[in-house]
Amino acid sequence: MSIMQHNGGSVIAMVGKDCVAIASDLRLGVQSLSISSNFEKIFPVTERLYVGFPGLATDVTTLREVFRYRVNMYTIKEERAIEPTIFTQLVSSTLYERRFGPYFIEPVIAGLQKTPSGSYEPFIAATDLIGCINFAKDFVVAGTASEKLFGVAEGLWEPGLEPEDLFETISQTLMNAVDRDAFSGWGAIVHVITKDKVITRKLKGRMD
């Protein structure tokens, strides 16, 4: 089995109307043995920007610290919060630095991007383990259940979803996808990011 499947786990992000959502399962395993049902792999970067790290668990921890350091350095130097597009480039270049000995992580990024007029517009992106960026207008997926996530999301997602509808859509997509994946599941967490607040909910899932 590939090292990308060693610990299991999946992340998905979706665009809604003036909002974005990012969600992941909570499983941590070693091959087919489940170890933990509260292993979070989505982390806040700013108030309106989240990043998810599905992949090798040790690299989840490492990259979380790497990006905490680099985002702090950016904030101090620039004296402003990092924007989603900039952060995506940071993720990409950080991963590409290790082009020939990569971190085994495929990051998913979701946030609200500040426009010149001061409003916010939804932004999602994902990269592969060496930093190739995929900007998408609808949804991005990664992790061991990615094929399943693609299938369900393609069937359920529609443009212009309001926050609560987006929550339902991303939750249903994630839950039904991970229930068909042996390496993902054991509960889930969903963050819906809107202009004013972030709604975070933990979902109970099948434990088999």
Binding site: K148, F150, G151, V152, E154, G155, L156, S171, N176, D179
Partner: protein, 252 residues
């Protein structure tokens, strides 16, 4: 030899299998069954043809969808059809669906040590008039189900079906329960959505869609009449009936 020398006889094994892509799916209703498959046949990154059917009418009450290695699939369908013809000659009637399912299991297991590299889904009407779906693995393990997807996009379609057909992860409104069987129009909409989704995200799925609908004896057909270009394939009156709906899928 791993050392690349020629001091030992060189062995090159002929590989008798290939994969020809595509996806199939079937859903059973209370008094109907829907069996569908795309029509693309491919090998590697090449599309061999945009129209190679992999869903076949066996009798007026049974339809078989075959996916995997196309040459094995065609040969397998041919042999099943031959056995069904012999059965007609011996018993002066069509073989019942459950018996066809058992026949398929026996035929697949008969090749346990040189398998037909094929995933089968059999759909149709049971003798009690209920819609049924039987799904098989290449060596004959089978079970009756309400819905099943197989083939290249199985992993994309099956969780979607879990959600939309079995209502998995959905809670019924208080005091209510989810329907056990969906109406035909809902099922057809889900089938078409499944294939357009699979076409969007899987390169081996596309070109055309063939949906077979089997209706139990005496069932009204008005919910089929709304569909463009429905062809009836039934051979005998006053029994279960088979219909075919064809749709285009994206060709890229």
């Amino acid at each position: 030899m791993p050392d690349g020398s020629f001091s030992h006889p060189q062995q090159r094994q002929f590989n008798p299998y290939t994969e020809n892509g595509g996806t199939i799916l079937a859903i059973a209703g209370k008094d109907f069954s829907v069996i569908a498959g795309d029509t693309r046949q491919s090998e590697g990154y090449s599309i061999q043809t945009r129209y190679a059917p992999k869903v076949f009418r066996l009798t007026d009450r049974a339809v078989l969808a075959v996916n995997g290695f196309a040459a094995d699939g065609n040969m397998f369908v041919k042999k099943v059809q031959q056995r069904l013809e012999w059965y007609r000659h011996a018993h002066a009637k069509d073989m019942p669906l459950g018996a066809i399912a058992r026949l398929i299991q026996t035929m697949l297991y008969g090749r346990r040590f040189f398998p037909y590299y094929v995933y089968n889904i059999l759909g149709g009407i049971e003798e009690d008039g209920t819609g049924a779906v039987y799904s098989f693995d290449p060596v004959g393990s089978y079970e009756r189900e309400a819905c099943r997807a197989a083939g290249a996009a199985q992993s994309l379609v099956q969780p979607f079906l879990d959600n939309q057909i079995y209502f998995k992860n959905q809670q019924a409104p208080a005091g209510q329960s989810h329907p056990l069987h969906l109406p035909l129009s809902d099922v057809l909409a889900i089938v078409i959505d499944s294939f357009t989704s699979a076409t969007e995200r899987h390169i081996e799925v596309g070109d055309g869609l063939e949906i077979y609908v089997v209706l139990t004896k005496g069932r009204p057909t008005q919910d089929l009449e709304g569909y463009r270009g429905v062809k009836e394939l039934t051979t005998r009156p006053d029994g279960d009936r088979v219909f075919l709906i064809q749709r285009e899928l994206k060709k890229d």
